[in-house]
Amino acid sequence: MAPEPEERTLRPPQSDGLMVPQLFRVESRRRDTPDTYTLTMTPASFAGEWPFAPGQFNMLTAFGLGEVPISISGDPTEPQRLIHTIRIAGAATRSLCQAVKGDIVGVRGPFGTTWPVREAEGRDLIIVAGGLGLAPLRPAIYHALAHRPAYGNIELIYGARTPQDILYYRELQGWRGRFDLRVHVTVDTAPPEWRGRVGVVTKIISEARFDPPNTVALVCGPGVMMRFTVQELVGRGVEPDNIFVSLERNMQCGQGLCGHCQLGPLFICKDGPVYPFSRVKGWFEMREV
């Protein structure tokens, strides 16, 4: 039986936080890539914190335009501010990405299952992120680094399309300087001035240092990337029970009520988004449901 991700027990301070958006004020906005921005927000409609666990997401409301599911990408030990990295994909995300200091954003959540960062203690941890997939994994990285002695080797493998598309570039550089974390960054294509690696993330997995039977892998990125990454990890001997993936679907209610995010028997917003690969294997590779 595959171990389940950690139970989702953390709730916002208001009892209606799952149904009615709470108001948050934008404190800052940073441009990460040409179409991706990071918002830092603090509560405006209540005094308090917004506790969450790595891997969870919130529903963000751009008033008058719509509501979108966005992973929380901040540090779980700093629940007094909420950090979301958002890529422009439509009217609501465009509006959120154009928010300026002082603007109000609606927030419901936090929703979903979490990365099994506590279960992974005592083992090697391999984190594989592709594109925007680094955002939902960042809280897990913060957690692992804050509890560094609890883990064996930690390897972070991150792939992006081009050097311009790399998220959290400065933070990655900072992590690279640590002696207790190996960071591999690769891009699919690059101009000659790029000094890093060029190639797909799956190629790097063969070089990563970890003990396969004693490793937990956290994987998040586009579907194709996750599928081939899982194949490489299984090929190296990591148990499918110990490979966790984060699925993305059309989340709307966040509570498994509306069915928009349903994938076979799974409601991604409630039962996921983080799953052991062994649990979603049949659905993960299915061409049509």
């Binding site: 699919d188 000094r195 690696r197």
Partner: protein, 151 residues
């Protein structure tokens, strides 16, 4: 100083190869070091050597008149460069440039082919490794073509 034979024996590409075959390969090889910016090969040049990367990193580039050189992949420590030399007319199809000080063992293609003709067991060992390497390269290339991170 590490001998060519010891360097090849320790290289992942030659892992599991019989010592006599490694010795035969080593007889065709010589250590060559490149500075950052040096070209290991250039498109359309005759492919005289097949490179075993001992340390460092090499960018494989395609030159486009409009975009300039575009890096399609990087070849790093533990990998090999120039796996198309089996195919006549033995010309390089791409540019390869050292990105940092890069130590290689350059295996002379003509000598290597002659050895393989003489000893088919050696040739088969080499071909097995090539087949695996090609399969990995094709898989990786297909993933790059998919443009996984595209909108």
């Amino acid at each position: 100083m590490e001998t060519v034979e010891a360097a090849l024996a320790a290289h992942p590409f030659f892992q599991g190869m019989a010592p006599e075959h490694v010795a035969a390969m080593a007889a065709c090889g010589r250590p060559v070091q490149f500075k950052a910016g040096d070209f290991l090969c250039r498109e359309a040049e005759e492919a005289l050597d097949f490179y075993v990367i001992i340390s460092g990193s090499v960018s494989v580039e395609i030159f486009s008149a409009r975009r300039g050189p575009v890096t399609t992949t990087t070849v790093d420590e533990g990998e090999v460069l120039g796996w198309l030399w089996f195919k006549q007319p033995y010309h390089w199809h791409l540019d390869a440039r050292a990105r940092q000080v890069t130590r290689t063992i350059a295996l002379e293609v003509a000598a290597l082919k002659a050895r393989c003709e003489e000893d088919h067991n050696l040739g088969y060992e080499l071909m097995k490794r090539y087949a695996h390497y090609l399969a990995v390269q094709f898989r990786v290339t297909k993933l790059q073509l998919v443009d996984m991170y595209g909108a």
